[in-house]
């Protein structure tokens, strides 16, 4: 039998457009907060799984910058270069395999140190796509265009979603009047990138260790070429969710989620998310606001997990479930989900 996994501690920096600290300083804050929150020290860690992207950090083997601050000296460290929630998924496998009992997961990125859009070009097929100057924003625009062209009300709805996610700071009309960045996407519809780090402590459940249960994980990689995908839906999320449901024991059925914390960088993505996850109106989506007002690549999915954990600490409802979500790649080519269950006693 697999051990239950508890989210024993969380910590993160406040996302800001530009963090003047070095990467180790920034990650240290998140790690120390998570360890303190879990009531453990670095000596209690069996292993660390980190998430970072060399091209974004401008450092080869970028995890070397954080080895000391994440407590990985003379310890096992695995490093994944994708959304931080995939590091949670992998750490879960590590604990379920019996290899480790206590794993720290940490993710970081600083979009302020280089033009992030430009860096994303280096992820695109260098033979057929990159030479055209395509980046992740272009791909999002292409998907949005496909959706808008078959749905005349879409742009207005997106403006309303974006206005809500920005906490009323911009009205839907102002959003619709903001400059086009990748038609039909407007500046007001795009998540604002920044700097930050998040960390989570996962522990095999034992007496005395409390927190929400990480019930299931699932992830998926869509084909890379946009033309090979059905861009009207997030089928990658559907598959990831099916896999997560399976590991959580929900064979074949989609459970009701009390909370959803998606990683949506544009309002059209929120609609794709709701459709793929088949959510009903009772599900609360990103009560903290979500990512539109500020997001950090690689950290995003992990920060959705910390948000969901805080939700469980506020709302102790037996049997509550949360859907936590992360993405990476052009038009969310990579999708990852975690299912969190209500507080463990």
């Amino acid at each position: 039998m697999r051990p239950d996994i508890v989210v024993a501690g969380i910590g993160e920096t406040t996302p800001v457009p530009a963090d003047s600290r070095s990467i180790p300083e920034m990650v240290l804050e998140a790690v120390e907060a998570a360890l303190a929150d879990a009531g453990i020290g670095h000596r209690d860690l069996d292993a660390v799984t980190t998430a970072s992207v060399d091209m974004f950090d401008g450092i080869t083997a970028s995890n070397i910058a954080v080895t000391e601050v994440v407590g990985a000296v003379m310890k096992p460290e695995a490093r994944i270069s994708a959304d931080g929630l995939t590091a949670v998924a992998h750490a879960a496998c590590q604990i379920w395999s019996g290899a480790y009992e206590t794993v720290l997961v940490a993710a970081h990125a600083k979009t302020s140190i280089a033009p992030h859009r430009d860096l994303t070009q280096w992820a695109l097929d260098p033979i057929h796509v990159q030479p055209l100057g395509v980046d992740f924003l272009t791909c999002a625009g292409l998907q949005a265009r496909l959706l808008a062209d078959r749905d005349p009300g879409a742009e207005r709805r997106w403006a309303e979603i974006a206005a809500k996610r920005r906490g009323g700071a911009m009205s839907p009309d102002r959003i619709l009047a903001s400059p086009l960045v990748a038609s039909p996407l407007r500046l007001g519809m795009c998540a604002v990138p920044g700097d930050g780090a998040s960390a989570v402590v996962l522990r095999a459940k034992k007496k005395g260790i409390g927190g929400p249960i990480l019930a299931g994980i699932g992830y998926d990689l869509e084909p890379h070429a946009l033309g090979d995908r059905d861009l009207t839906r997030w089928s990658g999320l559907e598959r990831a969710l099916d896999r997560a449901g399976k590991t959580a024991g929900f064979e074949g059925r989609r459970p009701h989620f009390d909370l959803a914390e998606p990683s949506c960088l544009f309002p059209h993505e929120e609609e794709l998310f709701v459709a793929a996850a088949d959510l009903d109106e009772m599900t609360e989506i990103s009560p903290d606001g979500g990512l539109l007002a500020g997001y950090i690549p690689i950290v995003a999915g992990l920060s959705r997990m910390t948000s969901a954990t805080r939700y469980f600490r506020r709302n102790r409802k037996a049997g509550a479930l949360a859907l936590v979500h992360g993405t990476w790649g052009p038009a969310a080519q990579g999708q990852v989900v975690a299912i969190l269950g209500g507080a463990a006693s």
């Binding site: 070397i64 270069s81 496998c93």
Partner: protein, 384 residues
């Protein structure tokens, strides 16, 4: 860790330049060979792990583009990479995934296409405030460590040259090897030009294009699918502090490799490595390192590594063949190199190592090395 086993391996023919294939095609070559070796169809793969140091090719998130080559479309796929240990750490991640109960069949593919990038540029992107301005790549780092090793343990260039000779001659039996020479001699090595004192051209690993893949199965599936799986008896990792000057006497004491190997020996019940190990595939980026690691891995006592190789103990046919494949010295596509070590060790236990098969190999040691003294170690065995 719950049991998991390797049931198939595959490699490309590693070369200075594989301009006949794109990166996804290079991945596909190794992936399809591993699946064929395992007797599986791509649809039977539950998860894929890609190992690659994409800065060497000037890429970001490489699995997005090359994943298709690894049959990753619409499947769970992650890229795991940790410098030189990328290959071994990807394999260890594969073991964890296959042992987790979440996935039954995990395909791990490591690859590198150095010819398509600027490796020196990639290597230069170290810590921006410190190491970057003074570093002279991996070569400089090794040369520095070697001066300490020579000063303290008295190893000679001739003894180091024997490692290169062993590698080249072993590689002549390995169809995948990049550098091979059945007639290599110590004189050849000592005549090759000095790159950074005392490291000569033939002491140093090459940069290669290549890919390698392993298929890891859960215990249940391994028993069903394979008559002689290579079981993962133990596997662990140790990372180090971040600056080159942090690490005391790296080749002499390398606490990470020492601790990692002690840990896997203890888990696997290895008390006398020379006797109990049948074969070792260790990650030797330079000849002198292999000698230093004979000592750290407990094959001999301190200062005796030169004797060990002079006595032929680590040759094919010796008491403990080390790198019968030819090792890193004969092929080094960085993201794949660690996977090659695992694949070679596994194929020894699977009985599929062909011309460089060690008869009756039942217990294998694998190590990975990367960055400044990061270490992986694992024991593979014929029994679950």
């Amino acid at each position: 860790m719950r049991p998991a086993a390797i049931i198939g391996t595959g490699q490309t023919d590693h070369a200075k330049s594989r301009d006949d294939v794109s990166q996804p095609e290079l991945v596909r070559e190794a992936a399809s060979r591993a699946l064929a070796d395992a007797g599986l169809r791509p649809s039977e793969v539950d998860a894929i792990i890609i190992g690659n140091m994409e800065m060497f090719e000037g890429r970001a998130l490489p699995e997005l583009w090359v994943g298709e080559g690894g049959f990753a479309n619409r499947k769970p796929c992650l890229k795991i990479a940790t410098g030189g240990t990328s290959g071994t750490s990807s394999c260890i991640a594969g073991f964890h995934q296959a042992a987790s109960g979440v996935f039954d069949i995990v395909l791990v593919v490591g690859f590198e296409k150095h010819s398509e990038g600027q490796t020196q540029t990639g290597m230069a992107l170290t810590d921006p405030f410190w190491d970057r301005g003074v570093a002279s790549g991996a070569l400089g780092n090794f040369a520095l460590s070697i001066s300490q090793y020579m000063a303290e343990r008295g190893v000679t260039p001739e003894q180091a040259a024997r490692v290169a000779v062993k590698s080249r001659r072993n590689a002549a039996k390995n169809p995948h090897a990049h550098l091979k020479d059945a007639n290599a001699t110590v004189a050849d090595v000592l005549a090759s030009k000095v790159l950074a004192h005392p490291v000569r051209l033939m002491d140093m690993c090459p940069q290669s294009d290549g890919a390698a893949a392993i298929v890891v199965a859960s215990a249940e599936r391994a028993k069903k699918l394979c008559s002689r799986p290579a079981w993962v008896k133990a596997a662990t990792t140790r990372h180090e502090q971040p600056y080159i000057g942090d690490i005391d006497r790296r080749l002499l004491s390398m606490r990470t490799l020492r601790d990692a190997s002690r840990s896997v020996y203890a888990t696997a019940g290895i008390r006398e490595p020379l006797k109990q190990l049948d074969v070792a595939e260790i990650y030797e980026p330079v000849t002198y390192a292999e000698l230093a690691w004979y000592e750290i891995l407990g094959f001999c006592s301190e200062g005796q590594a030169g004797r060990l190789i002079e006595d032929g103990v680590t040759e094919i046919g010796g008491e403990l063949p080390v790198n019968p494949s030819g090792g890193v010295l004969c092929a080094n596509p960085v993201g794949a190199t660690g996977v090659i070590r695992v694949a070679e060790a596994a194929s020894q236990i699977l009985g599929r190592a062909g011309a460089h098969q060690i008869e009756g190999a039942k217990t294998a040691l694998v190590t990975g090395y990367g960055v400044y003294a990061w270490a992986d170690a694992m024991i593979l065995g014929s029994e679950p």
